[in-house]
């Protein structure tokens, strides 16, 4: 079995109101050093088989077809 972690983040320049709200909440807790906060998503995916190259190709296709909206989001795939 192959395990992978997919991270989806907003592209630079796309406004992230949720990240902004979290940023304000953190400074409200006294974390004065907090700069910008951006919120993203993490998917842990298990795949049958052992072919890592195929897994990587498939995982990228999953991101392009469903897991990320590439109009506003970037993704990265890491085999764990």
């Amino acid at each position: 079995m192959i395990k992978a972690r997919i991270t989806v983040t907003l592209k630079n320049g796309v406004l992230d109101p949720q990240g902004k709200a979290i940023e304000h909440a953190l400074s409200g807790l006294g974390f004065d050093d907090v700069g910008a906060v951006r919120q993203g998503k993490v998917f842990d995916v298990e795949l049958a088989g052992t072919d890592k190259a195929k897994a990587e190709t498939d995982l990228k296709a999953m991101c392009d077809k469903l897991l990320a909206n590439t109009v506003i989001e970037n993704y990265s795939v890491t085999l764990t």
């Binding site: 406004l15 109101p17 909206n69």
Partner: protein, 222 residues
């Protein structure tokens, strides 16, 4: 003129859309379910509002990948008119039938109120019964209506007259870029908008500002 309404689990404005189309066209629309791979021969396909698939992953993301949406895309490619309202708009952008994306409202709050809309392009099948620049009223009810497109896409849709509705007079409820409330495809047959024109079609609604949109699309005399 015949119409069809797309039904998906989690939509909740389907009944309103069916009622509006029935009252305005005098004929009940056909209904198609998420697993249907064929849509009857109709002139207009409507995708109502709601929370399809619980808004999981991203609003409209799962719905956009259902078999019925592949059938909608095939019909749209043949020139059949498609209108997506609210979640329907989100589904159309997720399906790639309209450019851009709809993000969380800038206020982070769900907004449910009446807004004013400016008709910025009255030269479409959907808006031909309005005057250019006309201000109409419309209800909105959404959490993710903050329209976004990259600079290049935005310049293109603005330049081509694809921005059909804009929030007017400081009523932008969601932070949408350029106050965009609704856009149309480059071929002019697929319309998506966040406001709910189907909820303002008769006196009992408190006004009928939305009625002309369906009358225009269905080619029905006012």
């Amino acid at each position: 003129m015949k119409s069809a309404v797309v039904l998906l689990p989690g939509l909740n404005r389907d009944r309103d859309m069916i009622a509006a189309l029935t009252k305005i066209s005098g004929k009940a629309p056909a209904t198609v379910w998420q697993t249907d791979t064929e849509i009857p021969d109709v002139d207009l396909i409507a995708i109502p509002g709601g929370f399809s698939f619980g808004d999981y992953l991203r609003c409209g993301a799962i719905a956009a990948r259902t078999p019925v949406m592949r059938a909608v895309a095939e019909k749209a490619a043949k020139g059949v008119m498609v209108i997506g309202v609210c979640n329907g708009f989100q589904i159309l952008v997720e399906a790639g039938l309209l450019p851009g994306a709809l993000m969380r409202n800038a206020s982070l709050k769900f907004v449910c109120r009446q807004v004013k809309l400016e008709i910025t392009n009255a030269n479409t099948m959907f808006t031909r019964r309005y005057q250019p620049g006309q201000i109409i009223r419309s209800p909105v009810a959404h959490h993710d209506g903050n329209y976004f497109a990259d600079a290049e896409t935005l310049a293109r849709i603005e330049g081509e007259g694809q921005v059909v509705f804009r929030y007017a007079q400081g009523t932008n409820p969601n932070g949408s870029i350029n106050d965009i409330a609704g856009i149309i495809s480059d071929k002019g047959n697929v319309l998506g908008l966040m406001p709910h024109p189907e909820n303002l079609i008769e006196a009992a609604h408190g006004g009928s500002d939305g009625r002309a949109l369906f009358e225009g699309a269905l080619g029905i005399a006012a």
